[in-house]
């Protein structure tokens, strides 16, 4: 049993380990949302629980429930990517503007009306 726990990846809920971990998937927000809408079960198996890197454009910045959240646009109606940003990214989130292109790295939790990413780090990118 002990071996089982030590062998498990410990980043599942731990922000400090995500920062220095390589992402397993790199994808655009349009494609990520499209994939979940087209076959949620298939892409849940591929993405859920994994560290993924998403490139997209900022639709909304929210501080609801004392959390820092960035929502990325997608081309799929009103669905997008909800990124729960870590508290140590506060300066970056405060500098963001809507329609700005960014890269976000976080743990994919699955899909409701939007794709949900937790423990996210922001990598600012120049607008195209």
């Amino acid at each position: 049993m002990c071996v089982f726990y030590f062998a498990r990846p410990l980043f599942v809920n731990s922000p400090k380990n995500i920062e220095n971990s390589a992402s397993e998937v790199a994808i655009h927000s349009d494609e990520l949302v499209f994939n979940f809408i087209s076959d949620e079960e298939k892409y849940n198996k591929l993405y859920a629980g994994k560290i993924i890197e998403v490139v997209g454009f900022v639709k909304e910045i929210s501080y609801l429930n004392n959390t820092n959240t960035v929502i990325l646009y997608s081309k799929n109606g009103t669905s997008g990517v909800i990124c729960d940003i870590l508290p140590n990214q506060k300066e970056k989130i405060e500098s963001l503007k809507t329609h700005q292109k960014i890269k976000v790295k976080g743990i994919c939790k699955g899909f409701l009306k939007d794709v949900i990413l937790l423990n996210c780090y922001i990598d600012l990118q120049p607008n195209e």
Partner: protein
């Protein structure tokens, strides 16, 4: 389109007038387990909810993996052993608000509906506070669920760590729904 979203839209009647429908993409649900051995608390800030003020209906869906715990091991036990999130990734609630008056600024009403956790559905009634601030609705409240009602198996060695009755709190702030 995913099954949960289809179910929620069907429940609300996707052809109804949109001005009577509201959405909360970042609803908050917390649960608490209090025992003499340890207290366990988890919070989910990305809960989806739709509110239809004409039909007086509310629909909620959440990802079980999106609950955040203080300890990684609690998260692992919750998702892998108790809730089995790989098999049952979501919990949901579909309910009706009794005697709801959308024009009142603040009211406490009972919500009757079906709560589904771990693939098991139970009829529940939940006392809820509903606020209307200039046409922006919010719903909050708390209730208890029994672990045994949802076929959640706790190993005997950990039985003293998990309360038989779990306290659940919720808070949804809605915006007009535009699709």
């Amino acid at each position: 389109m995913n099954k949960t979203l289809l179910l929620l839209l069907f429940f609300l009647g996707s052809f109804a007038a949109k001005e009577n429908q509201f959405i909360a993409r970042q609803g908050q649900i917390s649960f608490f387990s209090y025992t003499s051995v340890e207290n366990i608390e988890a919070k989910n800030n990305q809960v989806l909810s739709f509110l239809d003020i004409d039909k007086k209906e509310i629909a909620i869906s959440m990802l079980m993996r999106a609950f955040v715990f203080k300890k990684d091991l609690m998260y692992e036990h919750f998702n892998e052993s108790y809730i089995e999130s790989d098999i049952f990734p979501k919990a949901s609630f579909l309910g009706k608000i009794i005697d709801f008056n959308p024009l009142e600024e603040e009211q406490t009403k009972m919500v009757f509906g079906k709560l589904t956790i771990h693939g098991i559905s139970k009829e529940v009634e939940i006392k809820s506070t509903i606020k209307n601030t200039n046409g922006n609705y919010s719903i909050s409240g708390d209730f208890e669920v029994m672990v045994k009602d949802f076929d959640i198996k706790i190993p005997p060695v950990l039985a003293s760590n998990i309360a038989k009755s779990i306290s659940i709190k919720f808070n949804f702030k809605y915006q007009p729904y535009e699709d």
